[in-house]
């Protein structure tokens, strides 16, 4: 067996691939967070809960409407996105003039509540969600047995991340979003309907989280706690990438996922903390994050 730094090559490659898969979730989630932060200047603490909501919506669609994975992959982000948009209209809009910390606290409360509600009805142990038959099974890559579904996750997240990035960076939308962050009245005075823009943006960010949730459902149990388990790591990813930087969120998401995978090979004890350690170092060297603007 080929060895790299005392580790069998297949094990190394396998962990790298698994890191990439985790990174796919980090990237999707931090992308949504970055979009919301970019425009609303608000940390969407409910992002994890909305990811969970995505998984649960897929689950509920299946159990109460018989709607399977593929339609759910499209429907769920729409449903949850609309839910997000409603939240934005009803509540978040009242917080825009205030210190951004209030947005953080509000969504923190929202997250607790959503989680509590699902815990109340579904317990915390998680509900199973079957892998779609078309993606069942796996492919033997030689160094590891890659479940087809996980391969699909990597592809889907890459496509969605790049697509979203293009949408925002290469269209005028991105400029509107950033400008409206700074002075929404003026952007309105230029003839742009900013309130709708804000609602749509929040909806989009939430929809991305929900999309990640549907992707996650067949991998992990559909559990009320799935959001809070991952969200703080994703926050760290966003800090490392530079808050509000779309590209930063995506790239850092994948890179840190892979880094975590590597750590599991060489120093497993640190795999939980490695992202936070990296965050601390980045803060020392570049307080604005790798891709952030001061």
């Amino acid at each position: 067996m080929t060895m790299v730094f005392g580790v069998p090559l297949p094990a190394l490659l396998g962990q790298l691939l698994i890191g990439l898969i985790n990174g796919s979730f980090y990237a999707l989630l931090s992308l949504g967070l970055a979009i919301i932060f970019g425009l609303l200047r608000m940390i969407n603490f409910a992002h994890g809960a909305q990811y969970m909501l995505g998984a649960f919506t897929a689950y509920l669609l299946l159990h109460f409407a018989g709607i399977g994975y593929w339609p759910a992959l499209i429907l769920t982000p729409i449903i949850v996105g609309v839910f997000g948009a409603v939240i934005e209209r009803l509540f978040l809009q009242r917080l825009y003039g205030l210190d951004p910390l209030y947005g953080l606290l509000f969504t923190f409360g929202l997250a607790l509540m959503l989680e509590g509600i699902f815990r109340y009805y579904y317990g915390a142990s998680g509900q199973p969600y079957a892998t779609p038959p078309s993606l069942a099974g796996g492919t033997n890559l030689g160094f590891m047995f890659l479940p087809n579904y996980r391969g699909w996750v990597v592809v889907a997240s890459l496509v969605v991340c790049i697509g979203t990035w293009l949408l925002i960076e290469k269209t005028k939308l991105g400029a509107y979003l950033r400008a409206a962050t700074e002075n929404s009245t003026l952007v309105q005075a230029f003839g742009v309907n900013v309130p709708i823009l804000l609602t749509l943006t929040y909806g989009l960010g939430v929809a991305l989280a929900a999309f990640a949730g549907v992707l996650a459902a067949p991998i992990y149990q559909v559990s009320p706690l799935m959001g809070s388990n991952i969200i703080i790591v994703v926050f760290a990813v966003v800090v490392v990438g530079g808050m509000g930087s779309i590209l930063g969120a995506i790239v850092t998401g994948y890179v840190l996922g892979i880094t975590e995978g590597l750590t599991k090979v060489f120093y497993p004890e640190a795999s939980n903390t490695v992202i936070f350690v990296i965050m601390a170092i980045v803060l020392l060297v570049r307080p604005a994050g790798l891709f952030g603007r001061e």
Binding site: Q15, S125, M144, Q221, N229
Partner: protein, 380 residues
């Protein structure tokens, strides 16, 4: 001879919303109520009341509630106590306050070992029984090289430790172990390590949703195709139901109760099913037995005073639908037969909740540590 404050109050303290909520949860509370009804609703002419609370698997929340129950709510005994850390904490408080606790939900042998209490009892199962049952069965079937996936806390260590000892004693070896945090979502990288370890058994020293997830993901990564076997060391009817037969089939597990064992158990199971919509596992049935036995002990002692009741509990034989015939050791361990079970294939399952084949009955003496060797200093 009388009952203090005119009422016998039993507190059922367990996880009702967390990772282990299906494991005992509200079901245990129902089971306790059934026991009270079956006993006749009154003991020594005093009313019996069941109170319950959710400790969320947090020892601090649990001990808060326990303290409050003992100090201000006149609770006489606390039972169930899912999760070892909680059980140990509450048992310590009960000991200090001289109150009875009967643990059915938690697994650690510490409860009747170093941290035993003269008023503390351990009912349904423990890690030793699991090691002997599930671990032993797999070793016998040729599982000689083990790799452990262990929940990173006392319960996991104790389960891993006792299973390892058993494996080694039977000529097997342990080739590695990884620890994962409680309620971990992703096992892929651990499974990858297990895969490249060369073991032929992957022992899951965890519980509840953790075990369910690990099993699902093992299937995804083709662990079983590549010739390794999974040993779900703590697995019950509730988890099988959660996972579905398709995914769970073929697993070997150890429980102290199976509803489809005989007529008596079926009758009990159906009554329970009517109230909860589910069949009971060993925790819920065990809680029924614990409450019943506690009430019998009060009846016999003629008082609810702790010392007297504890004395009865230690000396009375246990005879009910859960225990069959059991005895209680001086360290508080209730000793009864355990069942080695195998999860049926979907095609073999004839009716709802028809999940298990009984492979063997493990005599209580084999399943549990001899009280004299338990390390409990109450045993002379």
């Amino acid at each position: 001879a009388s009952v203090s404050d005119g009422k016998v109050k039993i507190g059922i303290l367990n996880d009702q919303s967390g990772v282990y909520a299906d494991f005992g949860g509200k079901g245990s509370v129902e089971a306790a109520k059934m026991a009270v009804e079956d006993f006749g609703g009154k003991v020594l002419d005093s009313a019996i009341e069941i109170v319950d609370a959710d400790h969320q698997n947090k020892p601090d929340i649990a001990s808060n509630i326990a303290r409050q129950w003992f100090d201000t709510n006149q609770v006489d005994a606390i039972m169930e106590l899912t999760t070892s850390s909680v059980a140990l904490a509450v048992q310590a408080i009960a000991k200090e306050k001289k109150k009875i606790d009967i643990v059915t939900g938690a697994a650690t042998t510490e409860l009747t070992g170093k941290q035993c209490s003269p008023y503390g009892f351990h009912w349904a199962y423990d890690t030793h029984a699991l090691a002997v049952g599930t671990g032993g069965a797999l070793v016998k079937q040729g599982g000689k090289k083990w790799f452990f996936l262990t929940a990173d806390y006392a319960f996991g260590y104790s389960l891993e430790g006792q299973t390892s000892e058993f494996v080694k004693a039977n000529g097997g070896e342990v080739v590695g172990a990884v620890r994962h945090p409680l309620s971990n979502a992703d096992y892929s990288s651990f499974l990858l390590q297990a895969q490249s370890s060369g073991a032929n058994v992957v022992g899951l020293a965890n519980a509840g949703a953790d075990t369910q997830n690990a099993i699902k993901q093992a299937a995804e990564f083709g662990i079983t195709q590549s010739g390794q076997r999974l040993a779900a060391l703590l697995f019950t009817l509730a988890e099988v139901n959660g996972l579905g037969l398709e995914a769970a089939q073929g697993l070997t597990l150890t429980e102290g109760f199976y509803w489809d064992r005989d007529d008596e158990s079926r009758k009990f199971g159906e009554r329970y099913m009517k109230r909860t919509g589910k069949m009971p596992n060993m925790i819920q049935a065990g809680t029924y037995s614990a409450v019943l036995q506690y009430l019998k002990a009060i009846q016999k002692a003629g008082t609810d005073e702790t010392e007297a009741v504890a004395k009865q509990l230690h000396s009375m034989p246990v005879e009910d639908v859960f225990a069959g015939k059991g005895t209680v050791g001086p360290n508080g361990r209730m000793i009864k037969d355990m069942y080695l079970l195998e999860v049926k294939k979907p095609s073999e399952s004839k009716k709802p909740w028809d999940y298990f084949k009984v492979l063997a009955t493990i005599p209580g003496k084999e399943a549990y540590i001899d009280p004299a060797k338990s390390g409990c200093d109450l045993v002379k």
